[in-house]
């Protein structure tokens, strides 16, 4: 398994898309952080960029990568290795290189240019988002036969979590505003990894103006510390559950 991870990540670290992604993230980070003396503002902008681009790029790149490696996965499965190991090794190799891209592109400038705790939270956020959306891509790959359909579903998934979900949540809040819906909303937010990571970040930065309704509820009901822990645990579920479902389903998949 380690062998496959090693070779897959070595291959991907020379991939042009990953290199461009790293360079772009680095350019944005350095640019944004140098714009203002107040690094908190820079961190906020970086957070917004992370929340918008990391899920979309992770899920799209990962889906395309998995579908393109179908023949390679077949070759590996013809060797005496268990199916789960091959699948998880492919995932690990991919995630390693995408996380490395994020760590170098955003993490490195942050370490050099800021000295805030929140910077660390942002990096952890970005890495968790990468892990969970690559996991979702893996699930899409395992469940879909067709590459085109898989990529379509990947785009829809990314848009759903980054745009549509908030709209639905807002509709929910408006239509049930006469009822005590504080607790259900905190529960509903857990269904979206992007929202979770936004709240996690805002709890750190303590900019209540930008928190929105769900973020403010989070703070009121759970407080900063418990809220952060709750958000991280939910994020970890978003990493683990797609992976577990994928490995179970992959055992029955025809290649």
């Amino acid at each position: 398994m380690r062998t496959i991870i090693k070779y897959v990540s070595l291959d991907l670290l020379r991939n042009k898309t990953i290199l461009i992604y790293t360079a772009l993230l680095a350019a944005i980070s350095i640019g944004v952080l140098n714009m203002d003396d107040n690094t908190s503002k820079g961190l906020l902008s970086l957070m917004n960029i992370t929340l918008l681009f990391v899920p979309l790029i992770s899920i799209l790149f990962a889906t395309i990568y998995f579908f393109n490696s179908i023949e390679f996965i077949e070759l590996l499965l013809a060797q005496p290795i268990k199916r789960n190991k091959v699948l998880l090794a492919e995932y690990a190799g991919l995630v390693l290189s995408l996380c490395a891209a994020y760590a170098v592109g955003v993490g490195l400038p942050l370490v050099i240019l800021t000295k805030q705790m929140a910077a660390l939270v942002l990096v952890v956020n970005g890495l968790l988002l990468t892990l969970s959306f690559c996991g979702l891509a893996l699930l899409i790959f395992v469940l879909c036969k067709d590459k085109t359909r898989g990529i379509g579903i990947a785009i829809i998934t990314a848009l759903f979590f980054s745009l549509l979900f908030d709209g639905l949540l807002l509709t929910f809040i408006y239509s049930f505003s006469d009822y005590p819906i504080d607790k259900p909303i905190v529960g509903l937010v857990a269904l979206n990894p992007i929202d979770l990571s936004r709240i996690l970040m805002l709890l750190q930065l303590d900019v209540s103006v930008l928190m929105g309704y769900s973020g403010a509820l989070f703070k009121k009901l759970l407080g900063s510390t418990t809220g952060s822990i709750y958000a991280v645990v939910c994020m970890l579920f978003w990493v683990a559950v797609p992976l577990i479902v994928s490995t179970v389903k992959f055992n029955k998949k025809d290649l």
Partner: protein
């Protein structure tokens, strides 16, 4: 050596394999023939465990393949289409497979040398032609001198010289009492190589006979004529046309 019992596999309504039972033994060179979509690749992939059959059993040396993956160390597989990660070099791909197969320390690099793969080992997979990729697949299939060789369209895309080399290699493996399973649409490539013929159509086994038997039945000596004659027997509709 390989026992296939009542294997059935369907994709939706389409039956790729329909109640197929077969047995293969050491020293045989079995050709799987049949029109496109007749289930040849599905049969091969079921043996490799890439396709999970609905009903039926596949046993290798008496053990069912569904429980354990270690049987695959006995098999060398050359796929129909070989695609490898773009940025890996040929050498890296070969080293990776060698590292995965730690159980095997003696390598058969006849083909790597014969096909000239060692001269281009630093090229990355992205820049290779289809034929060269096919050669890499062939090298990997033979690398660990496996007991069973499964070759899916081995000569498709190879130049005549490499085809001859590959055929010689298959012959020499056969003389070492190995089992070779292959599919090909180019019957002349199988001439003189194959000892048994399995003919599949619409997922059903039409016949499984030795070449000698078939030559007796049809009265022809050339493989392509033998197969053509057998297809006519199997498809009485064609008698009207002729």
């Amino acid at each position: 050596m390989i026992q296939i019992e009542k294997l059935t596999k369907s994709y939706g309504r389409f039956k790729a394999l329909d109640n197929v039972s077969l047995g293969f033994d050491k020293g045989q060179a079995v050709s799987l023939l049949g029109p496109n979509g007749s289930g040849k690749t599905t049969l091969i992939k079921s043996i490799l465990g890439l396709v999970i059959p609905e009903t039926g059993l596949i046993k290798i040396d008496g053990n069912s393949i569904s429980s354990d993956c270690s049987y695959r160390s006995m098999i060398g597989y050359m796929p129909q289409i070989g695609r490898y990660p773009d940025n890996m070099t040929i050498e890296q791909v070969i080293n990776m497979i060698k590292e995965i197969r730690k159980d095997c320390t003696v390598y058969d690099d006849d083909l790597i040398k014969g096909l000239g793969i060692d001269k281009v080992k630093n090229k990355s997979m992205r820049n290779l032609s289809g034929g060269t990729r096919q050669k890499v697949s062939a090298c990997l299939a033979f690398l660990f001198s496996p007991e069973v060789l499964i070759l899916d369209e081995p000569t498709a895309g190879l130049d005549p010289l490499s085809t001859e080399l590959l055929k010689e290699k298959i012959m020499s493996e056969l003389s070492k009492d190995k089992l070779v399973l292959m599919t090909s649409h180019v019957l002349s490539d199988l001439e003189g190589l194959t000892s048994h013929i399995v003919y599949l159509q619409d997922g059903k086994l039409m016949f499984y006979k030795t070449v000698v038997e078939l030559q007796d039945v049809t009265g022809e000596t050339k493989l392509n004529k033998v197969v053509a004659r057998m297809m006519q027997y199997q498809l009485p509709v064609n008698d009207h046309v002729l």
